[in-house]
Amino acid sequence: MLPLEVDVDAIKRKVLLCCLLIFGQNSWAIGKGKAKWVLNLYAQNGDGGHQIFDNSKNEEAYAFEPMLFVAYQINKKTNISGHFVFDTWTAASDTKLDESTGASGEGIKSQSRTSGSLAISRDHKSWRWSSQLGVSSEYDYRSLNFGGNLQKSFAQDNFVLSLSPQIYLDQARDFDIASNQTLNFKGRTIWSMDLSGSQLLTPNDVIQVSYTFIHMNGMLNNISNSVHVSSNPYNNNFSRYDERLPDKRLRHALSSKLVHAFNDENAGHISYRYYEDNWDINAQTAELGHRLSFNDDKSFLMLTYRFYDQSQSQYFKESFQVVETHMTSDSDLANFTSHRFGGHYSHKIEDSQIFGMLLANMEWSAATYFSSRSNGLQSQILQAGLGAEF
């Protein structure tokens, strides 16, 4: 039996039961628990999708993802937290693929995914550890993942060193264009290690430096991606083949972030990340942001600009003249630059009582981000949130 052949529904039931048992053993007290709903909307459109199955290059897609976050303090040293996600999306390319294959059982116009995670953390003197279990399930993908974090503070908490390993035991389906069939699940294992350190520099400055290593192994093709193969680019005699990517990817990212306070109401941040992998992608990311706290700290505003630039993968071409061992036309692996502008606003509202439960520190939030890529893709994110302590 493969380690990934697990009953995801059974795990979900057990996670839910654990939550109920833990919550049930404690009397409610204000400030012990926190909950937050976040609704996410994502929309993208583009005409540079050379990977699209029906040759339309249309990258139009929409996703709706509500998230529920819950955290509860069991005692002075122990916290549990969890988040639960249900998302649904439609993509022009997926619809074409599904109508062709019937992979999801019918000619569907949308797909859905459920996922969740449960984490527990504990403090002991200058140490803190946490562990996390997560599951995810959709028709062409399922995942069981574990993670942890070990944190140690030094010099009266001026310097904090953190080590975070994660492992994803995933399974994904591939699509065989030649036989016009969706294939059975194949394994994909991802493990990562993140080492980070943060330092208080002055009463107005704090800096974080981190290094992340990600090892991906297994079936790394994307089910909806295909490539255009034609020996003569000037005629319409071509074939489409499924994407073929190596079964191993080694990724490295080195990043740093500095936050500086101008005064009690204004702060700014700047971050930079350098990334490279063995598929020949090099990327640089920089972000600038301004944060503003006003209205007696009841209101919070953050404005950000993010710049991203990457070189294309060695396996990427817009179209191929011959069938190669590894080939992709995925626009996400192409050479491009992107600019993203965004803003987040949140506001605290009066405490209120709902169904006999006092909700304190209630806060609603709204955010929007707009991104434009040099290879034609534009996307927008809208977020709305509501959180409270109980």
Binding site: G134, S136, T202, N222, A261, Y275, D332, I381
Partner: protein
């Protein structure tokens, strides 16, 4: 990796900020991520729409996002 360890050692040797001077540092303004719940979705979108990943919790697993 050795360079990173040297960098951490350098950071460790920085001047310390006393507890009494940390009032501003503990505010929401000074958090590395002041909107962690919202960032979870944004980081996930970035990791699937870009060739790069890392530097946050999104490492490319847990979702078959197309």
């Amino acid at each position: 990796m050795i360079r990173i360890l040297f960098l951490f050692a350098f950071l460790c040797s920085c001047a310390n900020v006393k507890q009494i001077d940390r009032g501003r540092l503990s505010s929401r303004l000074m958090q590395f991520d002041p909107t962690p719940e919202e960032s979870l979705f944004i980081n996930k979108v970035n990791s699937y729409r870009e060739g790069a990943a890392g530097g946050n919790a999104a490492v490319g697993g847990g979702c078959g996002c197309n």
